[in-house]
Amino acid sequence: MQLDAKIPGGPLQDKWDRHRFELKLVNPANKRKYDIIVVGTGLAGGSAAATLAELGYNVKNFCIQDSPRRAHSIAAQGGINAAKNYQNDGDSVWRLFYDTVKGGDFRAREANVHRLAQESTNIIDQCVAQGVPFARDYGGLLSNRSFGGAQVSRTFYARGQTGQQLLLGAYSALSRQIGAGKVKMYPRREMLDLVIVNGKARGIIVRDLVTGKIESHSAHAVVLATGGYGNVFFLSTNAMASNVTAAYRAYKRGAVFANPCFTQIHPTCIPVHGDYQSKLTLMSESLRNDGRVWVPKDPKDKRAPADIPDSDRDYYLERKYPSFGNLVPRDVASRNAKEQCDAGKGVGDTQLAVYLDFADAIRRDGKDLIKSKYGNLFQMYEKITDQNPYETPMMIYPAVHYTMGGLWVDYNLMSSVEGLFVLGEANFSDHGANRLGASALMQGLADGYFVIPYTIGGYLAGESLDEVTDQHPAFTDHTKQAQERIDKLLSIKGKRTADDFHRELGGLMWDNCGMARNDKDLAMAKEKIRALKAEFWENVLIPGADKDFNQSLERAGRVADFLEFAEIMITDALARRESCGGHFNDAFQTEENEALRDDENFCHVSAWEYKGDDQDPEFIKEPLVFENVKLTQRSYK
């Protein structure tokens, strides 16, 4: 297979305008003749479903939770970037574009990122019009804060609940279309398969999670916005239901998967504290605006943090990166935290934590101001840890947070399967090897509100699609396969729960395919995961029945896919003979322990095509061409 990114010609800043003009249009009266399936209701899926319905398409929208308002975008805390330059501090579309390409360690497409930066400003206007209560200054104008990887203040926010407010904006637009009958909403549904007819995506198979019934749904195009695969690590900041199944099923039907090894480990999370733990909680990156990260200089120093004088503390980020200080990008901050803990300087019971200290900020600005900025985050920290961060420094440690990899898409956000579009975290396109803070919300909403409405029209207008209903043999066949898989899972009746397998898989991935990787451990993990997968299919224990509300069965299906998908992540990590962004192989580092890229041989997207179970996927290369930015060693000094 050859991958054509279909990047429009012409100067970078004109590509999107020109492309939008050149895309074919579906006339307003004809839009109602098209059915579009959107899977997912997060920022990308929710905004896409609402906007496509506003345009006149018939939309069928699916989500796994009981309501579209609960998609995990809701948990994003800190903010959303936009090149408004309201602060008059030198921001521009070009600067946001440049920061994002550099932040991604030069492994993203220039054209996609530039479009993202262009659309960023429209997103803010759209959200304000919908009633998103962004933070404002006394004069009533929008307020901004700073995020990692940038030297300008361009992050818009709604307290520590920006994702919630943006999602409720998209959800309200979606609800309006549901009320108007233009979107048919299917909650508590899990996508189990993609249906391709004559080479084009024409529908999906889902399981109704309440009744257990397998349903077929046909359409003229399918849009996946099903989020990332961070839960392959078991412990992550993702919601419990976040999973790879929809994307992985599409992969098994021919959509190629790009850069699966690019995972983001977020530097500021509440550390792991027990083996009963089910998930990790993020503390927003915005805290690094005012919090200072430090460890004791002497590993043997076990004094309480307040008793350690400044002279005995190492503010290692400020020391090593004076110009960005505590606001270095996430991959850099995470790796440095690991480095300090590996050197024995970790703090707390487990010694797998560093301090994030607000004492100086509270002295400087007063407790009230700090409370107004971060009140809900401080409260959340206290609830979980039983410690008061106004009085004692927070303890934080990196945790899996976001996955830059995803289904491969071209400039139109179409996957390698015609008629299958992929939006938001589920695709791979905009963040390269590392995503900057406050950029996920921007990408999800740009894809949904401002990209897919144009590009899906271009696809539909350019194709003559046969009539396909859910009675087509492909639907019957895939339904049968989905049912057989469920029957197989329930028939095993082994001795270990799905969660138990998941926890073991997560441990293997975190230890061997996490913040730092090496060939030997990756290879070893691959073998162990294969064995674990084999054991799963002989020894998993799933209680309850099929045609029922059965959460154990749901989880088992997801774990089965994670077990297969983990292997592709490792294959990708082994194949990338360099370090970049979130992928750090110990063998490739600079003298200062920074990621060492190999631009000559690895300036490309690694895409993987499914070739059958128990076979390695086939590698497909999409070279990355940089015409506008110079590839440099990322420096945040």
Binding site: A75, V210, D386
Partner: protein, 256 residues
């Protein structure tokens, strides 16, 4: 972290196979529960044990486990989301319980919310309320610059206070009338306070109140249980604002 200890608990859990099943309490023992674990993690431990013993685990809704998605929620010893103020069930930690405690766990009980299984209920009526009018009609594209209309900071903050609602349904579960007035009041306040939400304010208040009646929610009796149990501490003044908006719309607008 604090030095964790473990406790043992007696659980009385509501089990119900479906909306038509009568349902009953069943008793379970939760042993060696770390006080640092959350309430849902305690239920995970119980469920793992039930599964291994060949029994069916307890069905309960949950997702983000960081207090923002609104998916979790059960009644703990008579109180939605348990005894701690301003806390969702996923953020309720076992350090707030003592060794030997007996804990009764029930689903939300309200006429508008049907039980799906055990502790899981159908909260789609809350979505229906939003679909009626809980939005500002602004299609994607062509919106004015975000700074075109300044919004006084205190108005934006008040709107945000109301917008913090997570739609969990605890207000309905706590209300003797199973009313959704706090939920509707929060939405009417969030949007109606902002200049962008004014054009549809009258229609919004009237439509949402009518839909609430139609869906089988009761009316407000000023018991204030909703405010006391709301995990996001949404103020009952939002109900007062809803009433004002509703009367204003009924008497002075052309929307009726």
């Amino acid at each position: 972290m604090t030095t964790a200890k473990t406790i043992n608990l007696n659980l009385k859990v509501w089990r119900q196979n479906g909306p038509k099943d009568k349902g009953r309490f069943e008793e379970y023992r939760a042993s060696d529960i770390s006080t640092d674990s959350s309430f849902l993690e305690m239920l995970d431990v119980v469920n793992e044990k039930l599964t291994i013993e060949g029994k069916e685990p307890i069905a309960f809704d949950h997702d983000c486990r960081e207090g923002i998605c609104g998916m979790c929620g059960t009644v703990i010893n008579g109180r939605p989301h348990g005894p701690e103020k301003g806390t969702t069930l996923c953020q309720l930690h076992m350090r707030h319980f003592s060794d030997g405690d007996t804990i009764a766990i029930e689903p939300w009980r309200a006429r508008a919310f049907k039980v799906i299984k055990d502790l899981v209920v159908d909260r789609s009526p809350l979505d229906k309320l939003i679909q009626t009018a809980g939005y500002i009609s602004a299609n994607a594209g062509g919106c004015p610059d975000g700074n075109a209309v300044p919004i006084p900071q205190e108005i934006a903050e008040k709107s945000m206070d109301a917008a913090a609602c997570i739609g969990c349904g605890a207000c309905v579960a706590s209300c003797p009338n199973a009313s959704a007035m706090l939920f509707v009041g929060a939405k009417v306040s969030h949007l109606g306070l902002l200049p962008q939400g004014k054009p549809e304010a009258a229609m919004r208040a009237i439509s949402m109140v009518r839909e609430m009646d139609r869906l089988g929610f009761g009316n407000c009796g000023n018991e204030r249980e909703c405010e006391a149990e709301c995990p996001k501490e949404i103020s009952i003044t939002n109900i007062a604002r809803l009433n004002r908006e509703f009367f204003k719309a009924s008497f002075f607008s052309s929307v009726m």
